[in-house]
Symmetry: D2
Subunit: 139 residues, 4 copies
């Protein structure tokens, strides 16, 4: 994907409704690579007043989605395995980085790491995508 | 956990901020078991106008969280593995059921299944919780 | 797959070299379903004299492989997530049952459970297969 | 763990019965880190004449087991998620490297990668261990 296509993708992500709802912010995107940020807010807490796992996973999923679609063809999630290492501060600004570790015609695999401002590892995830032949519809 | 404690847990879940943000609704809770519902909304869509994986996972995580805390002691997520089977309709009402398949003093394992109104399987998840000794703080 | 094809598959499994090396024994096979048995032996122990995780996984993988190939077309493993619940007795006879919970043209998902003679749950696994179009070569 | 303890661990691994059965060879060991080698043999093939998933997993599990026990206290596997990227040559010499990405008092997480002689990525795995307080019994 060339720079102008990456820009189109970035624009599409900026308009993504779920990203807006959650406050997910794209920081970096390249083919097979993405960095996304999430400022935790009070409305993301669970019954213990800690950050809800769904919020952390949403951040991970956004980075994964962007990295695997940044080759210019549609990719969809098949399976994801997440491990939670430590609870972040309820007001932390989290960052997820997704890196492609393997890619074939049909599938691709990503490792995604979530860290806080102090670079402490919050969660890690391994994710498998199915790669369709179709070009991204909004390019 | 007796009925009055389960009621306290259900009340706490009703006040959960993330559940309110997402519209997650508890339908059933028993020790090691929970059913949660999510009415998909337009603000949960991704760059393709499909449901964002983060929304589906949030539903799963809510059912998991409730089922493993319904023994009356604090349980926290260690790892979760999700497989996506088919994309739900963007306006579907989804249901996640979490069932405990094993429990020891320290850990417990759950299988969570997400289905739509037609009982089609949308996603499935295996989740591992670490069980602390502490009683739920809000009981 | 009809009965005669299932029989051909069962014969092929009986000749499988890894199954012979490990002593894996097919008990049941149907499209999307298989039960395999493993008599644990002294040569399967780890540095603690307990059963090696690799032996338990080999049993799981055999049941998975058979269940997803029992539709008559070639299926290969994409990803597997295993959770260990309790250590089996070092001389236990274990049984793995693989059940298909979803199948589409391209992929299929299985839940595999390992139990001992007392029906105690030893390990559980969620497994995702990629389904090729090719018929099984030995049919 | 100091050098003499690591040596004791390495000696214990050399005597491990499952490692002998499979031909697993320890190449490197440090606290939280291990490299193990497996020369694939004809008796490790499945019904298609390809390498059995159980053999690849056994290699992964050996590297994981060693890396998490190399802190000097007993660690046991809780959950593992493996993704298969490509089938190795049936006569390849595979290498698994396990790296610790997080460690707390109670749990630790490892990323394990399997490569062949050409450094092609065969499989990758994320693994979670439970850390007991007990010292390794054979030290």
């Amino acid at each position: 994907m060339d720079d102008s296509a990456l820009l189109s993708l970035a624009r599409q992500i900026k308009k993504e409704k779920y990203a807006r709802k959650m406050g997910l912010k794209l920081l970096e995107v390249d083919p097979g690579h993405a960095v996304v940020e999430l400022q935790l807010k009070d409305d993301m807490t669970n019954i213990f007043g800690m950050v809800h796992g769904g919020a952390i996973f949403s951040l991970i999923d956004e980075a994964f989605e962007i990295s695997c679609n940044a080759h210019g063809t549609v990719a969809v999630a098949l399976s994801m395995s997440i491990t939670y290492h430590r609870a972040p501060d309820a007001k932390a600004r989290l960052r997820a980085e997704s890196k492609e570790i393997h890619r074939s015609t049909k599938t691709a695999t990503y490792e995604i790491k979530v860290t806080d401002e102090d670079n402490a590892l919050i969660a890690s995830c391994s994710a498998l995508a199915y790669r369709k032949q179709d070009k991204l519809p909004f390019l």
